[in-house]
């Protein structure tokens, strides 16, 4: 599903972010990416989302070599994945429903479909009835669940989450992790970058550890 083949990423300003990273994730696998801040976790996720491109090596998504994807094709690659961020990245001047509908709108779904899917996904993340609320009127945990709803509304095959519980207290964090496990159970590949080791150990999932850009344990 996701394959890194001797991938290095070097930023001209700060030097090596990733050095010779290789690993493979199978479909439906849930993996935690851990390590201290600055170890390269975010960079690794950005390479999959094609926000950044590799300096050396190759990244494959569903067998597709991301090095060979043109700028024009990048949006279509991103539609296969749901991205979740520590700061939620919601549009605060739009309602919850509008935020969640954005990927569907972009993919050209009909209004009927959009309505139905948004309602279904809100149910799943436990925010039924909050369609018309604005993000800033919600708690942090609720906002992140809006972010997750937006990421999964398009039924992506991959979920990439960058510190999804970084701004949440342990109880809320556990709830969010529980959601991710549900997606894994329906066959979605989930890659979560986090430094919250307690969540990782509880989950019993595979763990990739980065240190100074190198993969030190798998």
């Amino acid at each position: 599903m996701i394959k890194f083949d001797h991938v290095s990423k070097r930023y001209s300003e700060v030097g090596d972010a990733l050095v010779d990273v290789s690993f493979t994730m199978t479909k439906g696998e849930m993996v935690f990416l851990t390590g201290p801040s600055g170890a390269g976790k975010s960079t690794l996720l950005k390479l999959i989302a094609r926000v950044e491109s590799v300096s050396r090596g190759q990244v494959f998504l569903e067998g597709q070599n991301l090095n060979r994807i043109s700028e024009r094709e990048v949006p279509f690659i991103r539609r296969k994945m749901g991205l979740i961020f520590q700061d939620y990245k919601l549009l605060n001047d739009r309602t919850v429903a509008d935020n969640i509908a954005l990927p569907l709108l972009i993919a050209g779904y009909s209004h009927q479909d959009i309505k139905r899917r948004v309602r279904a996904v809100l149910d799943k993340v436990g925010l039924a009835g909050k369609e018309k609320s604005y993000p800033l009127s919600l708690s942090g945990g609720e906002q992140q669940r809006v972010g997750i709803a937006r990421a999964v509304v398009n039924k992506p095959s991959v979920i990439l989450a960058d510190e999804p519980t970084g701004n949440l207290d342990p109880v809320l964090a556990t709830e969010i992790m529980h959601l991710f496990k549900q997606f894994k159970q329906v066959g979605v590949t989930v890659l979560i970058a986090t430094h919250d080791l307690s969540q990782v150990i509880d989950s019993g999932c595979r763990q990739l550890t980065l240190e100074q850009g190198r993969l030190v344990s798998d």
Partner: protein, 299 residues
């Protein structure tokens, strides 16, 4: 949800910031109205010269030795000429009468023993003769007639006026081109600011798989509306200006020409004005989007 698209990325943005949108539209419309007014001025002058040209006439002064009979014989020949619409014969006596009446030198003429005025034939060329070359050709032909001493055409000032109009038409073209660029740049800058204000939104849209085309569309609509609304406002300005100028212009024309006809923007002119304005708005925003959108990337 039905209005989601409009809510998310749309021309509704202009209504959210009515003041700044109105300012932009006002500036744009002044640029457009300037070109339009100048165009209309030239159009009015051209329209006038159209009438003037049809008043072209050639005056033939026959030689002193030509007898009345020969003069009339020439007249009948001229009337059959394919390039001549009509003629008017002025005998020596008639000429003298006119001269006495209009010149004020009537008493001086009475002192002369005989009538010094020549016979005159006024020739009105066919209206199909429109170019100066055609008229010149006819003039040369008539000049060569043995009975004709002098042939004159009062055309030089028409030619000068035409040359001025050609220059003015060029001027309109140049001015309109320059102001078109102004419209493109003003719209472009406005769209750039909008893009900057909605940077976060653009980046998020990109992260969830939006193509540049999807993101650009509402901004292009925005440019279209700026252009179209500015065009409409410009049309109102031009028409209002013409309505204000119409009475004095008509008075002036009546005094000088004996008739009056002020030309406004035609339906066709108005359609072109609006289409071009809207197109320039789209062009301005398109230019900015092409150069700026690829730079707005997620971090």
């Amino acid at each position: 949800m039905v209005h989601l698209q409009a809510l998310l990325f749309s021309l509704g943005q202009q209504l959210r910031t009515p003041f700044s949108s109105l300012l932009t539209i006002a500036v744009l419309s002044i640029s457009i109205a300037l070109s339009g007014t100048f165009y209309l001025a030239v159009k009015n002058i051209t329209h006038l010269t159209g009438h003037l040209e049809s008043s072209n006439q050639i005056t033939l002064f026959l030689g002193q030795q030509v007898s009345d009979q020969d003069g009339r014989w020439l007249l009948t020949r001229l009337e059959k000429h394919r390039n001549i619409q009509s003629t008017r014969f002025i005998t020596k006596t008639e000429g003298l009468k006119d001269f006495e009446q209009f010149s004020g030198f009537g008493d001086a003429l009475k002192a002369l023993s005989r009538n010094p005025l020549p016979m005159v034939i006024q020739v009105f060329p066919r209206l199909s003769l429109t170019t100066p070359q055609q008229l010149q050709q006819l003039l040369d032909e008539l000049k060569a007639l043995p009975e004709v001493a002098v042939a004159k055409i009062d055309m030089q000032w028409v030619q000068r006026l035409k040359a001025i109009i050609v220059l003015a038409e060029r001027g309109v073209l140049v001015l309109a081109s320059i102001l078109s660029f102004a419209v493109i740049f003003i719209t472009g800058n406005t769209i750039r600011l909008e893009l900057q204000n909605r940077q976060e939104e653009v980046v998020i849209a990109k992260l969830v798989g939006a193509t540049n085309g999807f993101i650009a569309r509402p901004f292009l609509y925005s440019g279209f509306w700026y252009g179209l609304l500015a065009g409409l406002l410009a049309w109102l300005m031009i028409t209002g200006l013409m309505a204000l100028l119409q009475p004095p212009m008509e008075q002036l024309m009546t005094l000088y020409l004996g008739y009056q006809e002020v030309v406004f923007l035609s339906v066709w002119d108005s359609v072109i004005l609006l289409v071009v304005s809207a197109a320039l708005g789209v062009l301005g925003s398109w230019g900015v989007l092409v150069s700026q959108l690829s730079r707005l990337t997620p971090e």
